[in-house]
Symmetry: C2
Amino acid sequence: MHHWCRSLLGLKLTLSDSGRRLTFNFNYSLIKLKFILIDSQQTQSIQHLASKMVYLDYNATTPLADEVIQAITHSLSVAWGNPSSCHDIGTKANHVIKEARQHVASMIGAKATDIIFTSGGTEGNNWILQTAVQHYQKAFEAKIKSIGDMDVKRNKPHFITSNIEHDSIKLVLEHFKDQEIADVTFLPVSKSSGAVHVEDVVAAVTPSTVMISIMLANNETGVIQPISDIGRRIKSINRQRGDNQRILLHTDAAQAIGKIGVNVEDLGVDYLTIVGHKFYGPRIGAVYVLNPGTSTPLYPLFFGGGQERNLRPGTENTPMIAGLGKAAELVHINLDLYSSKMQEVRDYLEEKLESCFGDSVCFNGRFKDSQRLPNTCNVSFIGKSAMPGHEILSQVPSIQASVGAACHAQDRPSHILLAIGISDFVARRALRISVGRETTKQDIDAAVQDLQKLFNKT
Amino acid sequence: MHHWCRSLLGLKLTLSDSGRRLTFNFNYSLIKLKFILIDSQQTQSIQHLASKMVYLDYNATTPLADEVIQAITHSLSVAWGNPSSCHDIGTKANHVIKEARQHVASMIGAKATDIIFTSGGTEGNNWILQTAVQHYQKAFEAKIKSIGDMDVKRNKPHFITSNIEHDSIKLVLEHFKDQEIADVTFLPVSKSSGAVHVEDVVAAVTPSTVMISIMLANNETGVIQPISDIGRRIKSINRQRGDNQRILLHTDAAQAIGKIGVNVEDLGVDYLTIVGHKFYGPRIGAVYVLNPGTSTPLYPLFFGGGQERNLRPGTENTPMIAGLGKAAELVHINLDLYSSKMQEVRDYLEEKLESCFGDSVCFNGRFKDSQRLPNTCNVSFIGKSAMPGHEILSQVPSIQASVGAACHAQDRPSHILLAIGISDFVARRALRISVGRETTKQDIDAAVQDLQKLFNKT
């Protein structure tokens, strides 16, 4: 136990180190502040890191904003009560959750009552798809009861999705198909835009279609999908279908939030998935459901203590919820700034790559018929000394990027690039480079320089 | 933006306040430490709180240990990478998770590969019960295929549980029963011990019994259930049943961990639920599964990115996992100390209540035929001026306790107390008082004094 103590200008400062815990107390008259160590490094090694390592994998995950860390840390200490408890410390936690829910709602133009916290995007996506199956069964049950048709087995819900979805959509729907729980149409995206065609979506609708689930922006190419157009078309189709046969619209907005404006009314969705760690928030998420359980069906995945209005039981993860709220608040306030900064740096990166490597690079996902996220660059190195993307990354460890979804089949070409019509040769040589709020042009210069060194060497 | 800066004995200290964020930097030569504000209060109000409010609801939730807060906060800052990413920052996160998994395993005498992180106890309990249903269906499918019996509908899995389980077991099994997914035996606990009789469990076994799920210790009475005796009996029954008809044993150890020794081998369980926030850890959990997916069946609830060996996909909540690991490490090292301290204070509370209130109090769940958690006291005030438990708490807000599970039907008698044979009159007048690691005899004195004031007044 080391202890350092000073009195200075009437302030009492103590710094104590017990084992691995280092706390700092600041006492002045009646005011007490307690700090806890969050980072320690030798400045030399910090400088060393800064000049060498460049993180360019913000689509895999983002660091937490300082404000988010503070919201979490504060809540860990002062809002640890059980939000269901009636006493003071419980009420405090409850208040933190209420505030966070409002921030998450405001970020996407929703009502607070339409937000339900989840453990993350995977739970959210699985939940929404499962809900559609259960809803169809109930709606269909009502229908067969009324018409006396007993051929239940043949009638299955039908889903429409794209062929570029995240595994937490793709694998669930493949499982539904394999297990004969549902029929699924996996729509190919257009090779001229990297996006689904709205007409293809409409054409795929059948009387059994219960849900359309298409991501808002792709994680590898950044291509933004035409959800609001789909929303408008589906709304008009739904006017002709009974309430029990209404087609539900879901979008996984994991990669879009914090990068482009996301407004549930503009999109016309019934469900939307929110993932904290993609926008400088913590590793939890939320789902948006328009009037959950009333105008939009929602069946709980879990049974338990009644939290989240019985829709998602389990004692609330207050600190993480506080962090998610803070991350949402930051996006709500600063989106334009974040977005334009990222775009400036991403565009600088692409110009720099073009000017340094000329015809030896090509960009995947840059289409004139569609828009991209402002932070994503998918580039293939196809020159004479070309090598697979994962080899580039292993030879240039200073660039912390990826070849696609985190560690997802590093040595195979991305199925998403193949889906947008990229050849196997080019897809194998791709890097996904995604910039963040703090990425600078100097970071880009350092990364491009290291790539130049590699290709000059080989 | 306020800024305070001092150089002192070669140290440079800066304290800066930008909006709501207060950070403190400590620079000395090459060493940089960064602190973040976690708590601020006027000492006067701290003293005020300390003399007035006594938290006695540790079974609802616990505060986080300082070491746990530090582990989380540290991880928020330095291990924020995606654990599936191949680069440095991802590897760092992966290492944090590996270490935490080992600590959780060691705490309960398990192997690290038997621990799977979840979002909490509710997910864990729901998952294990759902797994049993799926396992039964697969095992039964194999059986009907071999004997050509097609009467599938009549054959349902059978569960055995107690009538004092947490809602995340009780409501799932009630749902299974309602939806004709499973048959369920809800065994009444003995009125002379508050625990299930091992013989009743054995007698309830049928050829379709797929799982026995009984909690390790009750959250309201603290009564410890005879899981290891059940484990031994089931083991010998299982020797006579084929592998496909093996009875699986699960215990929800939410309330036991951190209070009594919990060892999976001694208990003889196949599954065990772990809940961080009951032992000074964060709001996540884990399940123990003996060789998951091989010797013990485990079917994922979610599909997605392949995390947790495909058993529980979703990007890992590294900071919370780090905190859970730290909380487990603390329990592993200090259990005897925690346990004896809590017991001393709880016993002091009960003596004090007896000496102050005599026949006007009675203790629920104190049986000579069973053991209790060392921290739990369930007491009813049955004297002349008796009032319902929730009224006592609303009149004495300084005592932060509960009448049962957090905010669970405050105005009705606890079904758990009724289940152990307590009369409606006494059950309505019950308080659940649960002490923690830092609860002192002075806290107890203050609480009892406030109760005395209330009853003298009325």
